[in-house]
């Protein structure tokens, strides 16, 4: 392994750590706006990781991934959410959640450990040719699980949306280390998909608030078998 790789691996490892911490921030932030900001910074970390990989591996399509990430997640998603559900997102409102923060962090830690042990058998596969896989893949997989946990944990619809978005970030954080040949059409489609998803869910949140007077998704519990 060359010296360049060592430096790049070290930088990417630091970004992965930051990525994880920011994901934890999305999961436990007490206010919705803070949760959104953690998501935006996490997307910046994703773009930074793509840049490091692009420079180190000389894979120029990853520059596009970084650019698309910034445009779609750091700029478009917050803009779309402000347009569709501004009051719900940008009002300084406390986020209700099913578990308190220490218990949530404990569960998140257990999930991270389980993910790590589940990923270990697959990591040697990626040893050659994709040197960043052993950093990005476990971090990405942890974020996919944490995102799912956030959706289950949070009772607020906006916070649940943030959980969904960090799952998507996780999937991409893992995959940029192994997939370098996505065609332009796939990259554009994925980039467009996220703001559209945020828009639709944002509009749904606005309608839920209009019809029920609240954005508490946890309170929507009338449909089940008796």
């Amino acid at each position: 392994m060359g010296a360049d790789h060592v430096v790049a691996l070290s930088i990417d490892g630091s970004i992965a750590a930051l990525f994880i911490v920011l994901g934890l921030g999305v999961m436990v932030a007490r206010q919705m706006l803070a949760s959104l900001r953690f998501f935006m910074w996490q997307s910046v970390a994703l773009a930074a990781s793509a840049l490091v990989l692009a420079v180190d591996l000389h894979i120029y399509s990853l520059f596009w991934v970084a650019l698309i990430t910034v445009v779609s997640k750091v700029l478009a998603v917050p803009w779309v959410l402000r347009w569709a559900a501004g009051e719900e997102v940008y009002g300084c409102r406390e986020v209700d959640q099913a578990l308190d923060i220490p218990v949530s962090v404990l569960v998140a830690s257990v999930l991270a450990l389980v993910t790590w042990f589940a990923m270990v058998p697959t990591l040697p596969i990626f040893a050659s040719g994709v040197p960043f896989a052993h950093i990005n893949l476990p971090a990405g997989m942890v974020m996919v699980l944490w995102g799912a946990f956030t959706v289950a944990l949070r009772r607020e619809s906006v916070a649940q949306l943030m959980g969904l978005l960090i799952m998507e970030n996780g999937a991409f954080f893992g995959s940029i280390a192994i997939v370098h040949n996505l065609t332009v059409i796939v990259e554009i489609a994925v980039a467009v998909d996220v703001p559209i998803l945020a828009l639709v869910i944002g509009l749904l949140i606005r309608n839920i608030r209009r019809v029920t007077g609240s954005t508490l998704a946890g309170a929507l519990d009338s449909l089940h078998e008796r």
Binding site: G140, A148, V151, V186
Partner: protein, 493 residues
């Protein structure tokens, strides 16, 4: 005619429909119907072409339509057409029935339905499985407001659960899709079904297995596999019947289509031991849970939602049993279910219009109140439960017979028990609705003022045709296409 342009044309027509319905909103129902009719004709032409001349390719490799894709396209085109016709009168009738409720999203309905149909049609047409993932993810996005069409708290709750659960599934599946993208690329193959099967023996088994597990969870949520199924009965109880027909008939099938297509790749890899066991276990849990839920369901549209879960489980179990090997039971089950389920929802939707409620306990004597709707509901229930002479009887018989013949007595026996249980539950629930004296709730309601819309009755009649025809006669071209599609799922290696 350049047949290579057919796959692209199949996608362009609904796109044109969506744009035209946005621009000319007054004519939106008729424009949608016209668009759907043209799309149906194109899907039939494409299927005939694939049957006689092999896979269609186009768009410089962007599109590939093989036998399984063509077989899946046929019900999509059919449901798109009948649903568009059904919706014209049905949406108005529901509005008259609930005048005190917030006005439905009538203006948004038709453009959204066209885009929804477009993305479902894209799943079997696009070649690259990352694009297929995007198409499946977009089916959720564009149908969310179709589920929430009536803007009531319950409808919004159903739409919320639908979007969150299936999108969570999509995010999990995305990682699996990208892992397979890596796997195929690493051995110099394109990210297509054919590329995956060619690459499969050389993809490291742990990678293939991990990707499969992510697919099973992710696409399983969309297909309504237990325990990720909870969105499905809720969405089907709240969405208009014309939307349920598409959701249940073909949208859940799109996710299952992905799970079926990865199966030959798993079997082609010597390091993946007995992948059928995964399919069989999840399939049996799904069928069994749905069968028991059918016994205690209280809403007749929810009932058909659970029936969809049951059928997804049957198809998955059949795949695990190995019924696809040179056999057609599983493929025919997927095909037949896509035709029968819309008929069920069209009948259930009209029953809801007649009674003004979907509560099973509150409705009795549907046949005496509206013979056409009552008999349609009864016949559709028998058809979906797998009674002869309907199409699903043939496929279920084939699956079970193959299962017993191959000596897999325990799983086949369990599947038989669950199918019989679901049959009893469905027939019991619907016989309560169809027969007897009309209930007090119905008498007291304004049912007599509601006229069953003619467009919906015509759609119901058209939807009935394949239900009965495919049970007694399969055109030779279709039989050949089923055979070719089953061959694509044949075990390799």
């Amino acid at each position: 005619m350049n047949v290579d342009g057919l796959p692209a044309l199949i996608l362009l027509i609904p796109l044109a429909g969506a744009v035209s319905t946005l621009l000319i909103q007054k004519a939106a129902p008729l424009l949608t119907l016209l668009t759907a009719a043209v799309t149906l004709i194109l899907t039939v032409l494409a299927a005939l072409q694939v049957e006689s001349g092999g896979p269609l390719t186009g768009g410089h490799g962007l599109f590939v339509l093989d036998a399984l894709g063509a077989l899946y396209l046929l019900p999509v085109g059919f449901v798109y057409f009948t649903s568009s016709l059904y919706a014209i009168g049905y949406l108005q009738a529901r509005r008259q029935k609930h005048p005190d409720e917030a006005p439905p999203r009538f203006r948004q309905y038709f453009p959204l339905m066209n885009i929804f149909a477009l993305v479902i049609l894209a799943v079997p047409v696009v070649a690259n499985f990352a694009l297929m993932w995007i198409a499946i993810e977009l089916t959720t996005v564009f149908s969310a407001f179709l589920v929430a069409y009536e803007d009531r708290p319950e409808a919004l709750e159903a739409a919320w659960k639908y979007v969150m659960l299936t999108s969570m599934g999509a995010m999990i599946a995305l990682l699996g899709v990208l892992m397979l993208y890596y796997g195929t690329h690493a051995v110099g193959q394109p990210p297509t079904w054919q590329g995956l099967i060619t690459a499969a023996p050389r993809i490291p088994a742990p990678l293939l297995l991990l990707a499969f597990v992510l697919w099973l969870i992710g696409f399983g949520a969309k297909a309504g596999l237990v325990p990720m199924h909870t969105w499905l009965p809720d969405a089907h109880s709240q969405a208009p019947a014309s939307v349920c027909a598409v959701l249940s008939g073909v949208e859940t099938g799109a996710a299952l289509y992905m799970l079926l297509r990865i199966y030959p790749a798993l079997t082609a890899n010597p390091g993946v031991h007995d992948p059928g066991a995964w399919y069989m276990t999840v399939g049996l849990i799904t069928v069994g849970s749905a069968a028991f839920m059918l016994l205690q369901v209280h809403d007749f549209k929810r009932m058909f939602g659970y029936s969809t879960i049951e059928h997804m489980g049957i198809i998955l179990t059949a795949c695990g049993l190995g019924a696809a090997i040179h056999e057609q039971g599983m493929v025919y089950q997927l095909f037949a279910h896509s035709f029968v389920k819309p008929f069920c929802f069209y009948a259930a939707g009209l029953a809801g219009v007649v009674f003004g409620t979907q509560e099973i306990m509150r409705v009795r004597g549907l046949i005496s109140r509206s013979p056409a709707v009552g008999w349609a509901l009864l016949v559709s229930t028998l058809a979906i439960a797998g009674a002869p002479p309907f199409a699903l009887f043939l496929s279920e018989y084939e699956i079970l017979a193959r299962g017993y013949a191959s000596g897999q007595y325990v799983p086949t026996g369990l599947l038989t028990v669950f199918i019989v249980l679901a049959f009893i539950a469905l027939v019991y629930q619907v016989s309560r609705i169809a027969f007897g004296e009309p209930s007090a709730a119905a008498e007291g309601s304004s049912w007599s003022k509601v006229r069953v819309p003619w467009s919906s009755l015509i759609a119901l009649s058209i939807a009935f045709l394949p239900v009965v025809i495919f049970g007694i006669y399969l055109p030779p071209q279709l039989a050949q296409l089923v055979h070719q599609a089953a061959g694509l799922l044949e075990v390799h290696g």
